[in-house]
Subunit: 355 residues, 2 copies
């Protein structure tokens, strides 16, 4: 997608440096963050300089490519295994992270020639990024017919192009519908505690000229109860074999509410987000993040500086689960790069087995 007239991906590899859009600074400042080593890339994933399912996967793939470039000729595989561990420890819920790491490891498995190993690792990381962008584009094509002209779409968190290498998942059908000439209005949940909806989803959609209204997470039920939402689309951080979805905290609340109102609830995600090793959502580990994210709010001060305000009393404690699990029964359909399928064991298995 374009920023100030120039095309950007969310994360890219430039020589041995991983570069990424610095997402916590958006929308107030557009800055490219540089990670000279795979350890810097891991730290950027952990601290959420880069976030979003596909973007995390792409960054992790490039981090593995960096590790291949950094490895001594003597025993590159040991170094790569160590780098994989470092990267795996950054975000426990995000499936695309593990997917990308494992793909780069597999691509160089048994390769002894140091130059070939480096070339293969970089090529595989690039392929992961390219496939992620292409999958997101196709998700838009498959999701577009679900959005009628004049529809209002509710979304949660940011599963737009900033969350992937390009295009996004939940927002890709919206972009496709708008490009097809439809009028689409988006209600964007603020998405506390990190406000990805108010910051990133609103910014992305405004940049593309899409009509977007930010609402407090608390208000989604009100709009649903007034018949002002036609469908809900969210992304996913990991999807179990039975169609249960782990996604940004609050997704589950919106799914239960959509169900109570008979409003379709779709989850858009590429196949790289599915984890066949998790038979159900209860198997998915839920990341607990620092309570400060809840006790403070972060943004731009009236003086134009990046800052924070403390909302809660001194000494207060907070619980901060970063994700929740939405059971498959609340999900109308999964929008993937090979089509829209029901959230059932059989449909998911068949979809993952397609060429």
């Amino acid at each position: 997608m374009k920023v100030n007239g120039k095309h950007y991906r969310t994360v890219w590899l430039d020589g041995g440096t991983v570069k990424m859009i610095n997402q916590p600074l958006l929308p107030h400042r557009f800055e490219v963050f540089e990670c000279p080593t795979h350890r810097d890339t891991a730290e950027a994933i952990r601290t959420m300089v880069v976030r979003g399912a596909g973007a995390i996967g792409t960054a992790a793939g490039y981090g593995m490519a960096q590790a291949a470039l950094e490895a001594a000729d003597a025993d590159p595989h040991a170094f790569l295994r160590q780098a994989a561990e470092t990267l795996r420890r950054t975000r426990p819920t995000a499936q695309n992270l593990f997917y990308a790491i494992d793909r780069v490891l597999a691509a160089v498995d048994g390769v002894d020639d140091p130059a070939a190993l480096r070339r293969l690792a970089v090529a595989e990381a690039q392929a992961i990024s390219d496939e992620d962008a292409e999958a997101a584009r196709r998700i838009g094509e498959y999701g577009e017919p679900l959005i009628r002209d004049g529809a209002t779409v509710l979304t949660h968190c940011n599963a737009g192009w900033l969350a992937f290498a390009d295009w996004g998942t939940a927002l890709s059908p919206v972009y496709a519908a708008v490009r097809a000439g439809k009028t689409v209005r988006v209600l964007a949940d603020e998405t506390r505690p990190r406000s990805q909806g108010a910051r990133l989803t609103a910014w992305e959609l405004m940049a593309e000229g899409v009509d977007v209204t930010i609402i407090a997470d608390n208000a989604a039920g009100h709009y649903l109860s007034r018949g002002q939402v036609d469908l809900v689309i969210t992304g996913a951080d990991r999807i179990a074999a039975n169609g249960d979805v782990a996604n940004k905290i609050g997704t589950y609340e919106k799914a239960v509410l959509a169900h109570a109102h008979g409003v379709p609830f779709y989850v858009a995600a590429p196949r790289s987000t599915f984890d066949s090793d998790c038979s159900a959502g209860t198997d998915i580990p839920i990341e607990q993040r620092c309570g400060d994210e809840v006790l403070y709010a972060y943004g731009w001060t009236d003086e134009g500086e990046w800052g924070r305000v403390r909302i809660a009393p001194p000494g207060a404690k907070a619980g901060n689960p970063a994700f929740d699990v939405t059971p498959a029964r609340y999900i109308t359909g999964l929008i993937t790069e090979v089509g829209v399928v029901p959230a059932t064991v059989d449909a998911v298995a068949e979809m993952l087995a397609r060429p």
Copy 2:
């Protein structure tokens, strides 16, 4: 309740001045806000220097008493009718506002002696405040048995003593249970956009030594899904004759989620919050507030100053309904000062008719 060892009510009348705890500054600064005239009191209600069902009612009653003190001897009733209009226009959803204004008007109806009129208006306003505090205390007594030893109570917004003349409604049973020696843990929804949960509920409970954990509004569903909530108690801003409840935006979401998990959902409110003129929740007007409340977050800067940060992109728009309506079918019971009753037309009518 006590602040720094001294007993305070939320709002009180001192001569002709209405004084109130300045709630937007809490918990970071404890300050008394002074309203020299009834117009200042109206403005303080509108801008939410005072907020919460009972506290708004108490402030409005005192505002009417102020108007009586301000009125010229010639035609005090015309002045009072005008003052009533000014006060009525401040917050459209809060039933206690209308209740208190009408009570003071009724108390001086047909009274021609200026001195008697002033005395009666002040006495009625004081009675409203005293009855509010006493009703809240009794709500605690009736609600206390619903909380078992070791329970976790989820609450939304602030319906503690800061929302009433004293004691509170949703939190009054919690205070009663703790004073009865029970161990109670409270999960406090942050309650965006104005963060009354993170600011006020956490502050109140911590001051009383109650174990409280602040969570993002998005996280309530997660805790419910993990079986970590025993019951939900919220307050109400207006309750219709059929038991439908208007309360802080997001209350409806929590009610639907509690229902989905079979967790009891109680609404605690005095009889002054019931509006027999509204047959159902759809009759209750929902206040729309300025979008800036959503686009910004307010709190204390790292330098110790009161400030705000802008979360959303420049030019973004926001929807900001301040309340939502929870249908009676999601409500396990209404905790009032005369007992706990089901949220049905007949039970509400019978309860309101009790002496």
